[in-house]
Homo-oligomer: 476 residues x 2
């Protein structure tokens, strides 16, 4: 493991910076020498914002420090091959799905997935079969997919070219992934996992097992979400006998900038280094800090700490009459910025602290206690939640949609029509209504509830005005 102490890409950049060269190449800021008078904050990063110079390798044909940095990454995760991504887990999801399936191929997809998974299926013109997740009563949110659902889907669609899962979910909840992967592999179906929220799982207990360790074919991780990497920096791990590695790499080349950001890539090198140096002492310190934080939150009457997957994710459920959205806003007023609110919960993403690092967790708990002291404790009523069919299809496939006219009608008039737009409450970015899917009564109820509680949407441009786009008849 001692080679994990190396940081080849970071070192190559430092070495170049120290040469104090004269730049006659892109980028236009010339290592930060030419900047806007106001833009001082980026100065340091600009020195590292270089391009494919001699000695700095090329992400799209790595033979030097980028190759070495990616090899160290693969060693850490014990994957045959790992890649740096500079366009987020979005591009990882696009590339892995496009590499796995062609036009009209059937793919099995966990319904509560990130929109990039659906976009990938759209680009590939594949035929998605959606697998409903279970409902977590404590969190009042969608959880993982059940083994029985996967088994049923595989029996029903043995020709499926991929099983696409999300693990963990946004709240850090996991499920029996090992059993599911083994079942899919028995049927020669590759398993693609969007593990955006789990790059730190490789540390081991108390964290859940990583999908890489559990044998998934391709795993995509947002290094920037829980590791100290810059935003848009992600990892992709490849370990498949089903999916052609060259085709995967082709899509990564096609879908990522031909001028990838060196600061982002260097931050990925450093994030791997940070993770590799995470010790048992660090784990113990972190667990102690989280336990104390949860215990302090647990004593505040207006909220309840729920969920028990990834220790870095702390979900707080309102018990004081405020919606999750309202509670989030109250926290922001005292400088506490959280990751996500839903109608019931507020999600805290904790830092992956090392033993020598402090974070104001105690102070945060005190502030929350102060905010909520005048709110009465109210037992929240049981949520009415939809129980979607275990396995469902689109009413119109992506590749057929062009043939239909679209019309904008009032939300309630959309009942039993086919939605022409995807409506995603965001975060967590899980589609409520997919383009091509029939608008059922249950879906309409959910939509009204979310609008009422103040959710933000992507898609559904006229939702707040009360309108939805649906498909009409065939074009002439």
């Amino acid at each position: 493991m001692s080679s994990q102490l190396k940081t080849p890409l970071y070192d190559a950049l430092i070495k170049h910076v120290k040469k104090r060269t004269i730049s006659f190449h892109v980028p236009g800021h010339k290592s930060g020498r030419i900047t806007d008078s106001k833009a001082k904050f980026l100065q340091q990063a600009l020195e590292m914002d270089l391009t494919e110079l001699s000695g700095l390798d090329d992400l799209h044909e790595p033979v030097g420090p980028i190759q070495e940095a990616q090899t160290l990454l693969a060693e850490l995760y014990q994957a045959p091959k790992s890649y740096f991504l500079v366009n987020g887990s979005t591009v990882g999801n696009l590339a892995m799905i496009m590499a796995a399936c062609h036009e009209n191929d059937t793919v099995l997809v966990q319904r509560n997935c990130h929109k990039s998974v659906l976009n990938a299926i759209k680009l590939a013109k594949a035929r998605p079969i959606f697998l409903a997740p279970g409902y977590d009563k404590e969190l009042k949110a969608a959880g993982g997919v059940h083994f029985e659902t996967v088994k049923q889907a595989i029996n029903q669609y043995p020709e499926a070219k991929a099983l696409i899962l999300t693990y963990p979910n946004y709240y850090g909840m996991v499920y029996g992934l090992k059993e599911i992967i083994d079942e899919a592999h028995r049927q020669q179906i590759p398993v693609l996992v969007d593990e955006a929220h789990g790059p730190h799982f490789i540390i081991g207990g108390p964290f859940p097992a990583s999908a890489v360790t559990l044998g998934a074919d391709i795993v995509v991780q947002s290094a920037h979400k829980t590791l100290p990497a810059m935003t848009m920096g992600s990892f992709l791990h490849y370990n498949s006998s089903f999916i052609n590695q060259n085709i995967l790499e082709d899509y990564l080349h096609i879908l990522q900038s031909s001028s990838p950001s060196y600061p982002i890539m260097a931050s990925l090198d450093m994030a791997r280094h940070y993770l590799a140096g995470y010790t048992m002492d660090d784990v113990q310190y972190l667990v102690k800090e989280i336990r104390a934080f949860k215990s302090e939150l647990g004593e505040i009457p207006g909220i309840k700490v729920v969920g028990n997957g990834d220790p870095l994710k702390v979900t707080v459920q309102s018990q004081c009459g405020l919606s999750g959205f309202e509670l989030q806003m109250k926290l922001e007023q005292v400088g506490i910025y959280t990751e996500l609110a839903d109608p019931n919960n507020v999600l805290f993403v904790l830092p992956l602290l090392k033993e020598n690092q402090q974070y104001p967790l105690k102070d945060t708990a005190l502030k929350i206690s102060e905010i909520l002291k005048d709110f009465p404790q109210i037992n929240q009523r049981e949520e009415i939640h939809s129980e979607p069919e275990n396995i469902s299809e689109l009413a119109i496939l992506y590749q057929e949609m062009d043939q239909y006219k679209q019309q904008t009608i009032s939300i309630d008039a959309a009942l039993d029509k086919i939605s022409a737009e995807t409506v995603i409450p965001y975060p967590p970015g899980i589609p409520l209504l997919l383009a091509g899917e029939r608008v059922t009564k249950v879906k309409l109820q959910e939509l009204h509830k979310l609008i009422k509680t103040g959710a933000r949407f992507q898609g559904g441009a006229f939702l707040k005005e009360g309108f939805l786009n649906v498909f009409g008849g065939l074009k002439q």
Copy 2:
């Protein structure tokens, strides 16, 4: 124009940073508080590396400072609508082409285009008709496309759904774009321009006119190439009655990270601000500096300054027996890093200096003079160059390629076969051989010459070992 003094996105970030909030959201470095001990250089940038928090807007649904910053950008370029891109001009080219054409649509494409243009056509499964550029004898490189070629192509393919051009080329050379755009528009064909190297053209003389000003439907610009923006930061300008804006936006959403980088977006806001504040005095100062630099270079016997398009691009041609690649390496040994070398030339990208900024141009010329003082002046022989057909098609379309077997054979045995891989000498990233194109004698000669002079390639994994991938017969 006074509103151009505003920097709404940068200001929103500063405002948030000054609040000194406690972060329980992504990214995992928590505004730079959690970093690897070695990674001090990114500290400042990490403070700005935030996410879609209250007040910071959302690139994919902008309603706040990002919307305002994009509106200021559109005002500066006098475009109806402009967009920030965070995945480079790569994603701009992909999105504009995918928005303009569908499967089997004919598109007219300038042959010496960036590989992202070809990748876009591949993803769209369109049918490309390639328009050969003229050959610039002075630069010994491909130039722009001739009006007559475009006119002939439009006559031959009036059903074309788009004309896709590159303007300027890597060396800053431009051509009669206005006349071409007008002709295409008369035939109801939208014009898409990869203006990666020309974001600063909007300054006006002495710079060439921007394709935005000349009426192109969509123009993509690498802000990071000549403006002080971070790498992967680009602009897209939309001004079309032919191409549906919603479809364009859909592709931008699909192909860019759902967690776009705030430092990159803020640097785009600042680059626009820098450009808007560029005065006539700045222009005069810059022109004077460039003229002096060229004049000093002109007195060095071993090189010749060639080309006359964009003043920021200075191309130096070897006259001393060294290849461009060798000359570039010699310059690097004294700390002068240039943008590009080809068999004959070395390209300098100069900074877009303002009056108050210094750059060691004089010192650079002195150093070059010193390096070359012992090299004899040798009149370079005339280059043998290929004159490709004005208008050409692929022998196998992208959507048919899956049906053919592939085989790896020696380069010389590939004569008259159909190449299964795209071979791109890089930079400048212009494909010599396209996948699906027949390997002619002239192409083989070019390939040997490039290998001999030490060019780097993307694609052609076994080229240096003497092998090329070609298509064989149909799969069983």
